[in-house]
Amino acid sequence: MLKFLLIVNKQGHLRLSKFWCHDKTVNKTVLASDVIRNCLCRDEKQCSFLDYKDFKIIYRRYATLYFLIGADKDENELAVYEFIHNFVEVLNKYFKKVCELDVMYGLERVHLILDEMVSDGEAIEMNQSFALAPVQVLDAFGHRR
């Protein structure tokens, strides 16, 4: 099960955060900044998986953006790693070569796509056309009555 997803730039500024764990005792901002700090200090040769408290963190870097996912300890790390790539491919299809600015200006669209692909922490919709369809329909017709 996925617990959270963060998109940060290489300076560590948060551009998107989504949490699927509802533990009220956890301060999400502190957790996010701690995880970001741990990931950003790793270099390219190190592997993309690390342990953090009760979570397994899987991260992937695309140019200036880092995609970080926190998951259960027994999650298949490589599957999550590839899920990140699938998610980025979907964003690429939607934004036509996604960049940090796209994520900032189109934040709600990125959230909607993520909502379509992951439900309650489970990665549900991996088919790229089906993941994009509702957002594309919303773009075409959503602002009309």
Partner: protein, 523 residues
């Protein structure tokens, strides 16, 4: 309008092309975002400023200013939907940066209640990011959810079903349940899929609903659309983890579905980098592992399809490796078959010897799964690589190797293993990792100690190195070990502690055990 919506869903690509060609009402300049039209200057400035913030102080000033302006705008009687939309987006940003904006939550709820399709969706989104079912505003949303679920507009129904997973608490679920169950018969697969997920989330909060919902889940599993079946599988995955015994009859169906996926019977849109529906394969393998564990009969039903999965494995594709890894985990969790274990061993070899850090990490991990099922020759074969990984520059690989070592420990090598674990314990500063290492060492001391003398020295060494990182429970276990030891052990303990307690700077646990041991052995 609702007719057009239905047709839109069915003929999406063609319609979209048409609308893109003639649209000037949806400017799609990259810098202003797609779909909500041109963002106002105000919003563009907001984003630019967020982007250029250099310090925490600057951020606080800016956000507090924005929140004041937002409060004023939202209080106005007449506010355009676009402005409301942008204010809600700003709220999402501020919440993400860590600033609570509770006064704006109600406006997100309003947007969901009264907005057009796009604004309604954003209202739901903002609400889901800012509060959950415990908040009193969730009650207001429940009415909206019920209304939207009965809409003729497919998009609205989907939004409402999505929102069910966020805002319906255990007491409210019975209210919505009949309407959601009704959606399981909807003609659109996407609605059926979301209905299954909503029911799954109700059952998660209210486990007693399982009996009531079982027939729904069984039926959805056999749905002709893969999306619905996949959603049902994710629900079954969680259910099987809670109680595998109830779902053993699913095994033949799971094997059959996996077989069909491997035979490329799914539409080509499910292929990802030339692997057929890899995440679906992984999900099936996970459920099979849960159901086959310690169950000979269920495991035997899985052997044929598992052989097929291993045959298809290839090391060149990252996602194919993910499937292979899951297959190895399944093979080693269920009651194993010799030929499957051999196939797994071959793959483990190629992972461990890989130059890529990620694959090597997985290789070490799979080596630890395989170990209980093969002779120690397997680990010995890769001994050189394993030793290299112990001192690997990558912390994650070192940790995984330590975990492997722990599983490999026996009476003859426990001294070396404990030494290595202690070395790493001395180097680590992360408290979580320290207490895990301590727990591992305690377990090894208890299980594999070759002699009492060794046990005593190992306990004292651990307490000296770890200090207070040793958990209370582990200290108790150590104390019990000493208490149940024979007279020779006791005599040794007394001498040893007499020597140690004279020194300065000892950790608390060690002092306690030392004093207790001397007190009990004064007679």
């Amino acid at each position: 309008m609702s007719d057009i919506m239905q047709k839109t869903f069915a003929a999406l690509p063609g319609l979209l092309q048409q609308s893109m060609a003639m649209s000037s009402s949806i400017p799609q300049t990259k810098s202003t975002g797609v779909g909500i039209g041109v963002a106002s200057i105000n919003f563009q400035t907001f984003i630019q400023t967020v982007r250029n913030i250099k310090s925490k102080y600057e951020e606080e000033l800016f956000v507090n200013n924005e929140l004041m302006e937002m409060k004023q705008q939202l209080c106005q009687a007449t506010i355009l939907p676009v402005q409301m939309n942008e204010n809600v987006m700003k709220m999402i940003y501020c919440e993400m940066l860590g600033y609570q904006v509770p006064f704006a939550y109600i406006h997100a709820v309003n947007l969901a209640q009264k907005g057009t399709l796009n604004n309604k969706r954003i209202g739901y989104l903002a609400a889901s990011l800012c509060f959950d079912e415990d908040n009193e505003l969730a009650l207001l949303l429940v009415n909206t959810i019920q209304r939207d679920m009965s809409s003729t507009n497919v998009l609205e129904v989907c939004m409402a079903l999505n929102a069910c997973t966020y805002f319906i608490s255990a007491d409210l679920a019975p209210l919505i349940l009949p309407i959601v169950q009704d959606k399981l018969k909807h003609e659109k697969a996407v609605v059926r899929k979301k209905a299954v997920l909503a029911l799954g989330s109700f059952q998660k909060q209210n486990p007693s609903l399982l009996l009531h919902l079982q027939p729904n889940f069984r039926q959805a599993m056999g749905d002709k659309d893969t999306r619905v079946m996949e959603a049902t599988l994710s629900v079954y995955h969680r259910l099987a983890q809670d109680d595998p015994t109830k779902f053993k009859d699913l095994v033949p169906a799971l094997c059959h579905i996996l077989d069909q996926v491997l035979d490329n019977r799914l539409p080509t849109s499910y292929e990802y980098h030339s692997v057929a529906a890899p995440w679906l394969q992984i999900r099936l393998l996970k459920i099979m592992a849960i159901l086959g564990a310690e169950d000979q009969k269920s495991s035997e039903q899985m052997y044929v399809v598992l052989r097929k999965v291993m045959l298809r494995s290839s090391v060149n594709q990252s996602i194919a490796n993910a499937v292979t890894y899951e297959a190895i985990r399944t093979i080693t969790t269920i009651v194993p078959s010799a030929d499957l274990v051999n196939a797994a061993v071959k793959c483990v070899g190629s992972f461990v010897l890989s130059r890529t850090s990620n694959l090597r990490y997985l290789g070490i991990k799979t080596l630890s799964f395989i170990l209980p099922h093969v002779q120690s020759t397997c680990a010995q074969e890769h001994q050189a690589v394993v030793l290299e990984c112990l001192d690997h520059p990558d912390d994650s690989i070192r940790r995984m190797t330590l975990e492997l070592l722990r599983k490999m420990a026996n009476r003859s090598n426990v001294n070396t293993v404990c030494q290595k674990l202690n070395e790493h314990l001395a180097m680590t500063t992360d408290m979580h990792q320290r207490s895990r290492l301590c727990a591992s060492i305690c377990e090894l001391i208890g299980r594999h100690a070759p002699s009492d003398e060794w046990r005593l020295r190992a306990i004292n060494y651990l307490l000296l190195t770890a200090g207070d990182a040793v958990a209370g429970g582990d200290v108790e276990t150590l104390r019990r070990m000493l208490r149940h030891g024979d007279d020779e052990l006791r005599t040794m303990a007394v001498t040893e502690y007499a020597r140690l307690l004279g020194k300065d700077g000892l950790p608390t646990h060690l002092i306690r055990i030392g004093v207790w041991e001397r007190k009990n052995n004064k007679e």
